[in-house]
């Protein structure tokens, strides 16, 4: 018989190795499934690796894909630290993207050193606003934010589609539901010639450091963690719980909004309603894989992005459905959840009596 016994403390080695082991376990399980459907597992693994990191092109593609995931991963990590279950990063991403397109596609023209910050601010503000409603509902009327943030995703996406078909439709777009392109001054510069990698990754990495400092070094971050750790003790100690939740929500929404900005103004150049293949939801996996540690969000996002990009290559070469990538990401989330069980509990085998 197997029993779980709580650990009084967790070895640091285990805490560090848990995500790594979980990631490897997810890949191994995925290969088992590949073998099951008859694909040559060894070749598949090679293709996956090659597609994710086998060349400069592959690497830049992985980093490009990681950029929005870092933003949405940080958005989830910040919110989850305060036990604000923001499942709405997808909607906040679109809100940010919409604001970026509204400000950046010719309405205002400024030199790049002003234009880019302006677009970023607009997107961040829109993302923050998109989360404000659910947070206030939670704080004032204790409405479950899991439900509201999730449903807001659909509302915002439908709103974006409405704008794309109506007021913000590109008159030069030959009838496609898309916005006018972001003006050149507003586009994030490419980092490497001929590649798609753009300056969004630098902003993302900057945010990783900022969020790390915020959470671990500032009084506000301390208050956020205290509210997440034990809201009633936080209230007893004089921490304004509602205000802290609102601030957390604004920061989380802003980060998710920046993901939309970076996709529109860094990669695509205009907004369509298929901008994000679920970056908002994958951000949750990224944050969980990083154990909500902001510094770990970057490697975690790069890993998930590598899986997505590598699986693309692999599925094209082997003729396997590209949903395979989603499978690996889901396996990674499950592995992390199971792995975190082992950091809190010790497994004991006992002989049956």
């Amino acid at each position: 018989m197997i029993r779980f016994e709580p650990r009084s403390e967790t070895p640091v080695v285990l805490l560090v190795m848990m995500p790594v082991i979980s990631a490897c376990a997810a890949l191994a399980l995925a290969l088992v499934i590949l073998a099951f459907i008859g694909a040559p597992a060894e070749r598949a693994a090679g293709l996956l690796l090659q597609g994710a990191a086998g060349s400069v092109f592959a690497l830049t593609e992985t980093l490009t894909r990681a950029t929005p995931l870092i933003f949405t991963g940080l958005a989830a990590a910040v919110a989850f630290r305060a036990k604000l279950w923001n499942i709405g990063a997808e909607g906040q991403l679109y809100a940010g993207a919409l604001a970026a397109a509204a400000v950046g596609s010719g309405a205002i023209t400024l030199p790049p050193y002003l234009m880019i910050p302006l677009i970023c601010l607009a997107g961040a503000a829109a993302g923050a606003l998109a989360l404000l409603g659910p947070v206030l509902l939670k704080a004032r009327l204790s409405v479950d934010e899991v439900v509201t943030t999730l449903l807001f995703n659909f509302i915002i996406l439908l709103f974006v589609q409405m704008m794309l078909e109506g007021p913000m439709k590109d008159p030069m777009g030959m009838g496609w539901p898309q916005t006018a392109p972001i003006i050149d001054e507003g586009m994030l510069p490419k980092l490497i010639a001929q590649m798609r990698l753009h300056a969004g990754i630098l902003i993302a990495l900057g945010m990783v450091v900022l969020v790390h400092v915020l959470i671990n070094r500032t009084v506000l971050g301390f208050e956020m963690r205290a509210v997440g750790g034990n809201a009633s003790a936080a209230r007893f100690a004089g921490i304004p719980v509602t205000a802290t939740l609102v601030k957390t929500g604004l920061i989380s929404g802003a980060l998710a909004g920046l993901a939309g900005v970076s996709e529109v103004a860094g990669l695509k150049g205009y907004l369509t309603s298929d901008l994000s293949p679920g970056f908002g939801y994958s951000g949750i996996v990224v944050a969980m894989l990083a154990a909500l540690n902001p510094l770990a969000v970057a490697p975690s996002a790069i890993f998930i992005a590598g899986v997505l990009v590598g699986a693309d290559t692999m599925s094209r070469s082997l003729g396997i459905s590209s949903y395979f990538a989603d499978l690996v990401v889901s396996l990674a989330l499950l592995s992390v959840l199971i792995g975190s069980l082992f950091t809190r509990y010790r497994l004991r085998w006992i002989r049956a009596a």
Binding site: S8, V219, F222, E223, N230, S232, A233, G238
Partner: protein, 527 residues
């Protein structure tokens, strides 16, 4: 019953043999032997961390012992080993447990709670009639009366506890384990419980009784077993033992009996007059009370009589609906942060729920109330060095046993957690201290340290409002005592002239002439 060692030894029903259990380096149980006879009442004593809980968890199959056996009499003179790690096997073998925190479904009636889990899930109609008849007979036989047909949430604690016991008996328990059964009862209710337990034991039930309260142990048990540091240090008949002797056995050193120091009351630090606040069960009315600097005022009462609301007001979590409420001479902003800034130190009643963030470090928990102090933060950034130094000072001053200032607070024992929270409440110049159940769940050693701190704080000029259910504690510390019942507070009277039974009666709503004038609010000046 064979309270004073009758000639016939009880036939044993339960034997624990050589139970050992360790968690990492910590040896929680070290070769413990324990025997329980039919009809015998055995008290299991020990400080927190002595190994009582571990031993009971092994008995119930929640933990698996590293070595040793749990043996049950099979009724025909032989012994049967209880399968390890199987709570179901324990239940089936007739081990019943009444937990300190009741495990009743609040929205179900007593009857439904009792038969819950006994009826097979596939049975289409429940045999309520049969169950009712059986329970009626059981209540008749044991004297445990309880109303079975109204939802448990509408019953008082004493009645809920009787339902818990009936639940165990309904499952044909031969052995009943009671974990701190009187923690929530008035002295009168406790007496009733003891009478029932004695009757059950007379009927052949083996009772294992876990308690911190030495007077109860002496009154009820036939035999007492003391654990200390995971070992059994005493196993003797209760007859001939006394309080001080048991306390010394538990702590392993001499414990001096406590008396309050001389009071030196100064100006008023807390003044309530005709305060009304709270709602429903927690409503309070006509509260009048004054606490002066240099004195400890104790509030006695069974929990749930309005102490929660009184404490919430002094902690800054609730505002009075009417009446005059003056803290440290002003009736201004009384939010938690404003109170902390003005020098009110607060200990939460439920330290795990309101006092601490278990996953955060000791350091973070220590500075949480003063996080905005110039000393601990600058421009919104925390000054970790200063924070850590403050924690190291607190660890040294308050003799806190901990792995280090960065250890998560939840890893500490209850006593050490409370010492850290006390350090937090007493830092700076605390002029009013709210000590709400300050030693609940603490062992004898930690309790006496907490008491010493509160006395010292009062001696150096702080006013202390002590809210406690533990009468021994109230009498050991308080200069004046008031009793709270059903949302009303008696005047606070000098504790020197009060008897425990008088306070007990007032806790049950029958305040005697000692608390004269409690029907109409009396001004403190008269006290």
């Amino acid at each position: 019953m064979n309270a004073t060692g009758s000639a016939v030894p009880p036939s044993p029903v339960l034997k624990l043999q050589g139970i050992s259990k360790s968690f990492g380096a910590l040896i929680a149980n070290d070769a413990i032997d324990l025997e329980l006879g039919a009809g015998e009442i055995v008290a299991l004593l020990g400080e927190n961390g002595a190994g009582k809980t571990t031993l009971m968890n092994i008995l119930f199959g929640h933990y698996v012992a590293d070595s040793g056996q749990v043996l049950l009499a099979d009724g025909v003179g032989g012994w049967r080993e209880l399968p390890r790690g199987s709570p179901q096997a324990g239940l089936a073998a007739g081990i019943g447990m009444v937990h300190q925190h009741f495990t009743l479904a609040e929205n179900l009636t007593g009857l439904e709670n009792i038969i819950l889990g006994v009826e097979p899930w596939y049975s289409l109609r429940s045999n309520r009639g049969k169950a009712e008849a059986r329970l009626a007979a059981l209540m008749q036989r044991t004297g445990l009366a309880a109303s079975l047909d109204i939802p448990v949430e509408r019953l008082g604690v004493g009645e809920r506890q009787r339902i818990e016991i009936l639940k165990a008996l309904y499952r044909d328990a031969r052995i009943l384990v009671l974990d701190e059964p009187t923690a929530v009862l008035t002295p009168q209710e406790a007496e009733g419980l003891f009478a029932a337990i004695r009757q059950l034991a007379a009927g052949g039930l083996g009772v294992l009784f876990i308690s911190h309260k030495l007077s109860e142990v002496l009154a009820l048990s036939d035999r007492l077993v003391v654990l200390r540091g995971g070992r059994k240090v005493a196993d003797r008949p209760t007859a001939g033992a006394d309080r001080l002797m048991i306390a010394n056995l538990m702590v392993g050193r001499d414990v001096a009996p406590e008396r309050p120091d001389k009071a030196n009351p100064g100006e008023a630090v807390l003044e309530l007059a005709d305060v009304r606040a709270g709602a429903g069960r927690n409503a309070v009315a006509d509260l009048s009370l004054t606490v002066r600097s240099g004195e400890i005022v104790g509030i006695a009462g069974v929990s749930g009589n309005g102490q929660q609301t009184l404490a919430a007001m002094v902690a800054g979590l609730e505002q009075p609906a009417s009446g005059s409420f003056r803290l440290l001479g002003t009736s201004g902003d009384a939010s938690p942060s404003a109170l902390v800034a003005r020098g009110v130190g607060r200990l939460a009643e439920d330290r795990h729920r309101d006092g601490m963030v278990g996953d955060m470090s000791m350091t973070e928990n220590l500075v949480i109330e003063r996080r905005h102090d110039q000393h601990f933060s600058r421009f919104g950034f925390q000054r970790r060095q200063a924070m850590r130094q403050a924690t190291e000072t607190a660890i040294a001053d308050f003799d806190i046993r901990a792995p280090g200032p960065e250890a998560p607070l939840r890893l500490l024992s209850g006593g050490n957690i409370q010492k850290l929270l006390l350090a937090r409440a007493l830092t700076g110049e605390a002029r009013l201290i709210l000590a709400n159940q300050p030693t609940r769940g603490l062992d004898v050693g930690a309790t006496s340290e907490v008491h010493a701190r509160l006395r010292r704080a009062a001696a150096s000029g702080a006013g202390v409002l002590l809210i406690s259910e533990d009468l021994d504690e109230l009498f050991a510390l308080s200069h004046r005592i008031a009793v709270m019942h059903a949302g009303h507070l008696t005047p606070a009277v000098d504790s020197a002239g009060l008897g425990i039974s008088v306070v007990g009666l007032a806790m049950a709503g029958q305040a005697g002439p000692e608390f004269s004038g409690c029907s109409e609010p009396m001004r403190e000046a008269a006290a």
